[in-house]
C-alpha cells in the first residue's frame, strides 16, 4: 500500500519537469537581458567598442535627470500617455462600445470590423499611411479634403502639431482593442439590469454613468493597464511618422532610448533610460494589482 502511494506521488511530480525548458528559455532571453539592462545602466558602454566599459555608479541616472532633453521626453511621454491612451483610447472606447451595444447586429459588426482593421494593421504600414495622410507638401488626404472646404493646408507634422498628430494616429491604432474589451464587458451586463434601470426612469446618460461605468470597473482597470503599457512601450508608429522630431517634439522615451543608443552610441545611457521605462511599467502594473485586490 505504501509503495503504491509513493508511486502515485512520483508520477504526479514528473509533470512539473515541463517547466524547466521554459524557465531556461525565459531566463536566457528575457530575464538575463533585464539583468544586463540594469548592469550596463551603471556603465559608460559605447556602441563604438562594446568590449570596453567602466562602471560609473549612478552617473547616467544623474545625467538623465538633470538633462532638459530627458525631462522633456518624460513630459512628452506623459502627454502622449494621458491623451492618447487614457482619454483617447479608453474613454472613447467605452463610449463607442456603449453606442455600439444599442445598434443593430450587422451594423455593429461592420463598424467593429473597421475599427479592428486599424488595430490589426502593422505599425510600419500605419506609420507610412499616417505620414502620407497628414502630409503638408505635397498635400496629403486630410489637407486635400480641407482644401475642398476652402481651408488652408495645415502642417500637421510641424513642431507644434506633431505631438497631436501622433496622438491621433495612436488613438486610431489602439481604439479597436479597447472597444473589444468594453464590448465584451457590456455584453456581460445582464439585460435585466439595463431593463430595470430603464423602467426606473434612467435616461441614457444617467444609465451610462450610473450603471454601465460602475459595472465595467474591472474591464476599465484591465484596459487601462494594458493600453498604458502598450503606449509606454510604443515605438514603431511614432518612429516611422516623425522619428521623434521635429526638434524633439515627439521624442517619447522609447525613441529617446533608441536615439541615445544607436545615434549617439551611448549604450550605457540608453540602458539607464530602459531601466527607467521598466520601473515605470512595473509601478503601473503593481498599482493595477493593488486596485484589483481592493475588490
Amino acid at each position: 500500500m505504501l509503495k503504491a502511494a509513493k508511486k502515485k506521488f512520483n508520477m504526479q511530480n514528473l509533470i512539473y519537469l515541463v517547466f524547466i525548458p521554459t524557465f531556461i528559455y525565459l531566463g536566457i532571453f528575457f530575464l538575463y537581458p533585464i539583468y544586463l539592462s540594469i548592469k550596463y545602466s551603471f556603465t559608460n558602454i559605447s556602441l563604438t567598442d562594446i568590449g570596453n566599459y567602466t562602471y560609473l555608479g549612478f552617473l547616467n541616472y544623474h545625467n538623465l535627470f538633470t538633462s532638459g532633453t530627458f525631462i522633456n521626453s518624460i513630459y512628452t511621454t506623459v502627454i502622449f500617455l494621458v491623451v492618447s491612451a487614457i482619454i483617447g483610447q479608453m474613454f472613447l472606447g467605452i463610449v463607442v462600445a456603449y453606442l455600439l451595444s444599442v445598434t443593430q447586429k450587422y451594423f455593429r459588426l461592420i463598424i467593429t470590423s473597421i475599427i479592428l482593421v486599424a488595430w490589426a494593421t502593422p505599425q510600419v504600414t500605419a506609420g507610412i499611411m499616417w505620414y502620407s495622410t497628414l502630409s503638408y507638401i505635397p498635400s496629403g488626404t486630410v489637407n486635400v479634403f480641407l482644401g475642398y472646404f476652402g481651408i488652408h493646408s495645415i502642417n500637421f507634422l510641424s513642431t507644434h502639431l506633431a505631438l497631436m498628430s501622433i496622438i491621433i494616429a495612436n488613438v486610431w491604432l489602439g481604439l479597436g482593442f479597447s472597444v473589444l474589451i468594453f464590448s465584451s464587458g457590456i455584453s456581460g451586463i445582464s439585460p435585466s439590469i439595463m431593463k430595470a434601470s430603464r423602467i426606473d426612469g434612467a435616461n441614457p446618460f444617467t444609465r451610462f454613468f450610473r450603471i454601465v461605468i460602475p459595472l465595467l470597473k474591472k474591464s476599465i482597470i484591465t484596459d487601462l493597464l494594458l493600453i498604458t503599457l502598450f503606449t509606454l512601450g510604443a515605438f514603431t508608429l511614432v518612429y516611422v511618422m516623425t522619428g521623434g522630431g521635429p526638434v524633439n517634439s515627439t521624442n517619447i522615451m522609447t525613441i529617446y532610448q533608441y536615439r541615445t543608443g544607436f545615434s549617439l552610441f551611448s549604450l550605457g545611457l540608453a540602458n539607464a533610460i530602459g531601466v527607467i521605462i521598466i520601473v515605470l511599467a512595473l509601478a503601473i502594473s503593481i498599482l493595477y494589482l493593488i486596485s484589483l485586490r481592493g475588490d
Partner: protein, 352 residues
C-alpha cells in the same frame, strides 16, 4: 458482487477539512444515495471512491480489498457526471466506445455492446450525433450509456439529474430505478435533492459539513431523524419546529404537557412535527393544541398546504386534504403527539 466500505476517511484540501473521519458501508447491489447540501462533502466522497481524489487518511475497501491508492481505471467503477462530461469532439458512438477502447476490446464486441445499451436507453438514433446536437435529457442518457457499456462493478453518479428540467428529470429517474433493478449492481448516487434521494435510495446517507449525520432507509430517516439537521433537510414543506422552555417543571404547548421521561435534566426541548402530522381534529388527549390564524392556502393537486401563524407569531405549515376554512379564520389545530419528534438542546433526537 461489490460492496463498498469507507473506513475513517478524512480528506483535507490545504488546511480545510472536507471529510471528517467518515465511515460508511454500502452493500452489494444496493442503491445508495448520498444526500447533502452543497459543500457538505458528498462529491468529494464520491471522487475518493472513484479514485479521482485520494483521502488524506483512511481506507476504501471494495469487497474487502483495499483500493485506497488504486488508479481509477483499476477500480472497475463507472461514473456519470452532473454536466454529463461527454467528449465534445466525439459522436455518441465514439463516446460510448471510449471506455471499451481503453480496455482494448475488439471492435465486434464494442459494436455489439453499444447497440445493446443504446436499445435499452432508446438512443439508437442518436449514435452519429455530436454532444452539442443533443438535448439535456439525451446527453444524460448517453452519459449513462457510456457508464453502462463497461459492465462496471460499481456505478457512481454525481448529481446526474440536476441539470435537467422537471419532466425529463422524473422520467430518467424512473429509468434509473428500473436499470438498477435489472442490473443488480451497486449504485452510489449523490444528490442535494431530498425527494430524489427518497425516491431512488434503498438507503440514504445524509451528509453535512463532511460528517455523516444518519444512514437509513428513506422511511427511517424521514420519520426518525437522528437530529434536527436531518429533520429539517428532509421533507417539503419543511418540518415545523417548536422550541420549548421548561415551565413548572415540565414542557407545555397550549396548556397540554408534553409527555416524556428523562426530561428532568433538560432545560429546553425542541419539538419537530411534519406538516402532514398537524391535525385539524384532535386524535388523542396527548395531542397539543395550537391556536392559529390562516394566512394562505395553496392547492397542490392532491390536497392543500395551509400556511398559518400561531398566537406567538410563529409561521407553520400544515398539509391537509380538507380546506373548509378561509384566510383570516381563527382555528385550533393539534400537534399529533404520536408523530411528534423530540430533540434535546444539542439538536439530537430523544426518546419520548
Amino acid at each position: 458482487m461489490s460492496s463498498v466500505e469507507m473506513k475513517n476517511i478524512t480528506k483535507m484540501y490545504d488546511k480545510v477539512t472536507v471529510l471528517k473521519d467518515l465511515n460508511l458501508k454500502i452493500d452489494d447491489q444496493e442503491f445508495f444515495v448520498l444526500l447533502g447540501p452543497s459543500g457538505s462533502g458528498k462529491s468529494t466522497t464520491l471522487n475518493t471512491m472513484a479514485g479521482l481524489d485520494t483521502p488524506t487518511s483512511g481506507n476504501i475497501l471494495f469487497d474487502s480489498e483495499d483500493v485506497t491508492y488504486f488508479d481509477p481505471n483499476k477500480r472497475g467503477v463507472a461514473m456519470v457526471f452532473q454536466d454529463y462530461a461527454l467528449y465534445p469532439h466525439m459522436n455518441v458512438y465514439k463516446n460510448m466506445a471510449f471506455p471499451l477502447k481503453m480496455k482494448r476490446y475488439k471492435n465486434d464486441y464494442i459494436n455489439k455492446k453499444i447497440n445493446e445499451v443504446a436499445n435499452i436507453l432508446g438512443i439508437k438514433e442518436l449514435l452519429k450525433r455530436l454532444p452539442r446536437e443533443l438535448s439535456g435529457g439525451q446527453a444524460q442518457r448517453v452519459a449513462l450509456g457510456r457508464a453502462l457499456v463497461r459492465d462496471p462493478k460499481i456505478f457512481l453518479l454525481d448529481e446526474p439529474l440536476s441539470n435537467l428540467d422537471a419532466k425529463i428529470r422524473s422520467q430518467i429517474r424512473n429509468e434509473l430505478k428500473l436499470i438498477h433493478n435489472d442490473l443488480k449492481k451497486t449504485f452510489v448516487y449523490v444528490t442535494h435533492d431530498q425527494q430524489e434521494a427518497m425516491y431512488l435510495g434503498d438507503r440514504v446517507g445524509i451528509l453535512n459539513d463532511g460528517v455523516i449525520q444518519q444512514v437509513g432507509t428513506p422511511q427511517e430517516v424521514y420519520s426518525h431523524p437522528k437530529n434536527l439537521f436531518v429533520a429539517k433537510f428532509l421533507g417539503e414543506p419543511e418540518i415545523n419546529i417548536f422550541e420549548l422552555d421548561k415551565n413548572d417543571g415540565g414542557f407545555k404547548i397550549g396548556g397540554v404537557p408534553v409527555d416524556g421521561h428523562n426530561f428532568d435534566k433538560l432545560n429546553k426541548i425542541t419539538i419537530g412535527i411534519r406538516p402532514e402530522n398537524i391535525l385539524l381534529e384532535k386524535k388523542s388527549e396527548r395531542d397539543m393544541p395550537l391556536k392559529i390564524v390562516i394566512r394562505a392556502k395553496e392547492f397542490t393537486g392532491s390536497g392543500f398546504i395551509i400556511i398559518a401563524s400561531t398566537d406567538e407569531g410563529k409561521e407553520i405549515r400544515i398539509i391537509s386534504d380538507q380546506a373548509n376554512m378561509d384566510v383570516g379564520d381563527l382555528i385550533t389545530a393539534y400537534i399529533d403527539y404520536e408523530h411528534a419528534i423530540l430533540f434535546d438542546e444539542q439538536g439530537d433526537s430523544i426518546n419520548k
